[in-house]
């Protein structure tokens, strides 16, 4: 079958790729574009390990077709830091030890960024419900939620002790 030509902005750079019609955005990112930071944990939209931000919306890239990326702007985990400088969400995940194996971490960080873009001052409950689509089997979420709340405070410019 003929492949489709797709052009999209990925992490701020214009990018072009060919993909098969049935290929998911996750497969395209990982196997065609070569960005393997987004992970496949289920391929069915249930684990959030593949989370990316597409035109400002948090999506599971395993549920989006590669061809649907045409003309969109996509942020993956590789686009969260600015050059050498980690995003506060990344820094807080490190400081709070909010990861063990780290497999869920790219998805959780992307989802947290999307949360804080939309709601800079979430309650703990709001954060827990927003992140309910991102499974983490290692941490029990305690340190993840602490990292999220701390990152939110820092992004709001509050200094937390």
């Amino acid at each position: 079958m003929a492949k489709s030509y797709v052009s999209a902005t990925i992490n701020g750079e214009s990018s072009e790729f060919l993909c098969e019609t049935q290929q998911t955005l996750l497969d395209v990112l990982r196997d065609v574009v070569g960005l393997t930071g987004s992970k496949e944990g289920c391929a069915s939209g249930d684990c959030g390990a593949c989370s990316v931000i597409m035109d400002g919306r948090l999506v599971c890239s395993c549920l989006v077709l590669g061809v649907e990326a045409e003309g969109t702007s996509i942020t993956t985990i590789e686009g969260i830091a600015t050059g050498e400088k980690l995003h506060p969400v990344q820094q807080k995940f490190l400081e709070h030890a909010a990861l063990q194996c780290g497999f869920c971490t790219p998805g959780l960080i992307v989802a947290t960024k999307a949360l804080l873009d939309e709601n800079p001052n979430p309650t703990e409950t709001e954060a827990r419900y927003w992140l309910a689509g991102n499974l983490c089997r290692c941490t029990g979420y305690d340190k993840v939620i602490r990292a999220v709340m701390d990152a939110a405070a820092e992004l709001r410019g509050e200094t937390v002790g």
Binding site: E40, D46, L86, C138, G140
Partner: protein, 755 residues
């Protein structure tokens, strides 16, 4: 050397882990992230039937498909004899493992692999699988443990005769073995009891549900050399199993440990690697394989489900005089449930005069079980700790007091043999007693439960290297895959010994050709055993550095002391010299004897057992049967927390897994023996909104057998939650829930029955 009473500068602090930045930026390379030029995709054909004879497999059409470069079946693997294997975690037989990776004459569960293809794209591989023509003769199947033990049950293995019974049976059975543990005279004990409580309990198989599916990349070269990249809890384990299953020489196989996306015991055996190597050999190309989530549920090991009966007899004052248990653990399609530890762990928290435990290891048409965090212990403890709660209620004694009264102490002889030494169980109970959670009144409408747990922890073989680089920076290498921050803890122990900051030590996981044998990451052994090896390697480096300083100054080595990363003359008699730091000594290394390197391989003994106690408050919705965890506190003796954040993380993560086990997780089968919930939507692990903050309370009773006093910490926290929650539900509602999971329909039904 022992640092337990020393003042420590690095150990006990919370530095950022060495692999952290890679993991928050998406750079960390997990097994499925590796590629190779000319790579093919390998995929497995899996049985749709729970139990069937393989009449024939015709692969000709699949082989003829354009883009297919190889097809393998059991005929491509040596038919190896039965032989016990000790490379993974828990009992394992090489022949069973081979048959589990690739069925030969029968398929024993839905999802059992029986052929594999390698093709240029995933789509072609899928197409090829559909072209493989298998003729099955469907056999009657059996799913549940008690049904599998019934006299007329369908038999899985014609050559399985129950071991551990006398006389040796003449008919095959699904009961692989019977184990018994006895102490004292249990019947006399029950005669002596004022109060006797009894109960029957069941648990369901639950999956480790690591978020990363199994994956590997394998290359077979024409000279017989094999390279494997895979995600596992032990690359030496992968090497040993792959060599055995393919009849290869171990030195021809090099396994590179990828980052591992969770294991919890489930990655201590192989499923894909030998198949990927066989496909690579056949195709002459590198082959990548990865499981789907459905494959992970259907074909990789969950832990056992069980049927259990417990009886406890006590005096009026709460002193337990007799305890008895019958455990039937489901092993999946091949022998090897964690029945041994199950029999040992249930009563290990208590000092009991008379104990009788009988356990059965039972096969049925389900995936072969694999280790899952404290294998066997959470199951047996759910039963024992639920019944302890009933005993407390019956005696009118507080749940904590009953445990204090019977708690195992140093010198308590266990019913399975060893005598407890240097244990911290009473310290854990004391910490519960003084904790604000325990002291606070139970809120109106809520219930509170308490339960305890035990795990042995293990030591074993580990290798570590410490290199002082030419500029004085330090690299530590070990053979232990890092599943939860062990690179951080190992680097910290090395830094402490060398007297340098944690950030000066870079810890890596070395491949099978680059470091000595190291047993799997499991049983909570890495910080203990590999940490011990790394500490000893660092001590060797210090001795070497002192020698070189002595040589430089031309004084005896006894006159040199090592402090804060520098060599000093020891006292004024030694002479007046400027201290020599690591960088200076490293720079001079060529002139003082060559590279500064030490390697230590040990078989570590003396892993101190761990004890925990969990307090849980719940509310139960009468209308829906939904249980909400309102507050959760997990107290545990951790020996010494090397990196407290990762110790807390282990405890919080283990408790959350226990919450899932208690409330939601189970394998659901249809009448054909097919799993109906093989995905994260229907097999529901806890999500962030299901759990509260989990307070981890670290009690530190040092383990004298470890240089810093560490004990394993990863297993204990999954042991108490199921009973803690069941006991909390009992306290909130008066309902005793003896069957897991305590899911809304079951709780609702219990309310209906109560009314």
């Amino acid at each position: 050397m022992n640092y337990i009473d020393s003042s420590l500068k690095v150990v006990g602090t919370r530095p950022i882990r060495p692999d952290g930045v890679d993991k928050v930026t998406g750079r960390a390379v997990f097994a499925a992230d590796t590629r190779a030029s000319g790579m093919l995709w390998g995929k497995m054909l899996r049985s749709p039937h729970a139990h069937a004879r393989i009449v024939s497999i015709d692969t000709t059409k699949a082989e003829a498909l354009k883009g297919v470069f190889g097809v393998v079946t059991a005929a491509d693997f040596p038919d190896i004899p039965s032989e016990e294997a000790f490379v993974g975690e828990g009992p394992m037989n090489f022949r069973d493992l081979a048959l589990n990776c690739m069925a030969r004459t029968k398929v024993l569960y839905e999802g059992h692999a029986l052929a594999a293809v390698a093709a240029s794209t995933q789509a072609i591989a899928d197409e090829a699988l559909a072209l493989i023509d298998v003729k099955y003769e469907i056999l009657p199947h059996v799913i549940d443990v008690e049904a599998a033990m019934a006299p007329n049950a369908p038999i899985l293995h014609d050559d399985m005769f129950t071991s551990g019974v006398d006389p040796k049976p003449t008919k095959p059975s699904n009961i692989a073995k019977v184990v018994t543990f006895r102490k004292g005279d249990v019947e006399a004990g029950f005669k002596d009891a004022d109060v006797i409580v009894e109960g029957t309990y069941t648990t369901q198989p639950v999956h480790q549900a690591y978020i990363e599916p199994h994956a590997c990349l394998a290359t077979y070269s024409p000279d017989g050399q094999v390279q494997i990249h895979s995600s596992s809890q032990g690359h030496f384990m992968v090497r040993a199993y792959t060599a055995k299953l393919l009849g290869m020489n171990m030195s021809n196989i090099r396994v590179n440990p990828a980052e591992i996306g969770g294991g919890f015991g489930g990655k201590t055996l192989v499923y894909l690697e030998p198949i990927a190597v066989a496909l690579s050999k056949k195709s002459g190309r590198t082959v990548k394989m990865q499981m789907t989530r459905e494959d992970v549920f259907k074909a990789s090991g969950p832990t056992s489900g069980a049927w259990m009966e417990v009886k406890i007899g006590a005096k009026k004052d709460g002193t337990i005089v007799a305890a008895k248990q019958v455990l039937k653990y489901q092993a999946g399609a091949f022998a090897g449930s964690p029945i041994g530890p199950g029999c040992m762990c249930g009563f290990a928290m208590y000092d009991l005069p008379n104990v009788d435990v009988v356990g059965y290891d039972v096969v049925s048409n389900r995936p072969k079980v694999a280790a899952y965090r404290a294998p066997g212990a959470p199951i047996t403890s759910f039963a024992v700790e639920s019944l302890m709660d009933e005993l407390a209620i019956k005696l009118g004694i507080d749940a904590l007091t009953l445990r204090e009264k019977n708690a195992a102490k140093n010198g308590t002889k266990t019913h399975y043999g060893p005598t407890h030494q240097n244990i911290g169980f009473t310290a854990v109970l004391a910490a519960v007693k003084s904790h604000p959670h325990w002291k606070s009144p139970v809120k109106p409408g809520q219930g509170r439960g308490l339960a305890t747990g035990f795990w042995f922890n293990i030591g074993g073989e580990s290798t570590a290297q410490v290199h002082v680089n030419e500029d004085g920076s330090v690299t530590a290498a070990t053979g232990s895959p890092d599943i939860g921050g062990s690179r951080a803890s190992i680097g910290m122990m090395v830094a402490e010994v060398l007297g340098v900051p944690a950030t000066s030590v870079r810890t890596i996981v070395a491949d099978t050709a680059s470091i000595g044998f190291t047993h799997v990451t499991g049983g909570s052994r890495v910080t203990f055993a590999t940490g011990m090896a790394a500490t000893q390697a660092a001590e060797k480096i210090v001795e070497d550095l002192k020698k070189r300083a002595a040589q430089t100054w031309d004084i005896p080595v006894e006159a040199v002391e090592w402090k804060d990363g520098k060599a000093y003359p020891a006292g004024s008699n030694a002479g007046a010299f400027e201290p020599l730091d690591l960088a200076t000594l490293a720079l001079k290394a060529a002139r003082t004897g060559g590279p500064l390197i030490a390697e230590v391989s040990i078989n570590a003994q003396g892993a101190g057992p761990g004890f925990g106690a969990h307090i849980c408050d719940v509310t139960v919705d009468k209308e829906t049967g939904h249980v909400t965890i309102e507050r959760y506190t997990a107290v545990q003796d951790v020996g010494k927390a090397i990196h407290p954040s990762y110790v807390e993380g282990q405890i919080q993560g283990g408790a959350a897994q226990g919450i899932g086990w208690a409330l939601n997780e189970e394998y659901i089968y249809n009448a054909k023996g097919q799993m109906e919930n093989a995905g994260f939507l229907d097999y529901r692990v806890p999500v962030a909104s299901d759990v509260p903050m989990i307070e981890a309370v670290l009690v530190e009773v040092p383990n004298p057998r470890h240089p810093f006093g560490a004990r394993g910490v990863g297993e204990v926290p999954i042991v108490p939650p199921m009973a803690a929650i069941a006991n909390a539900i009992r306290s909130a509602t008066g309902l005793r829930m003896p069957d897991l999971p305590m899911s809304p329909p079951k709780v609702r039904a219990a309310f209906d029955a109560q009314a």
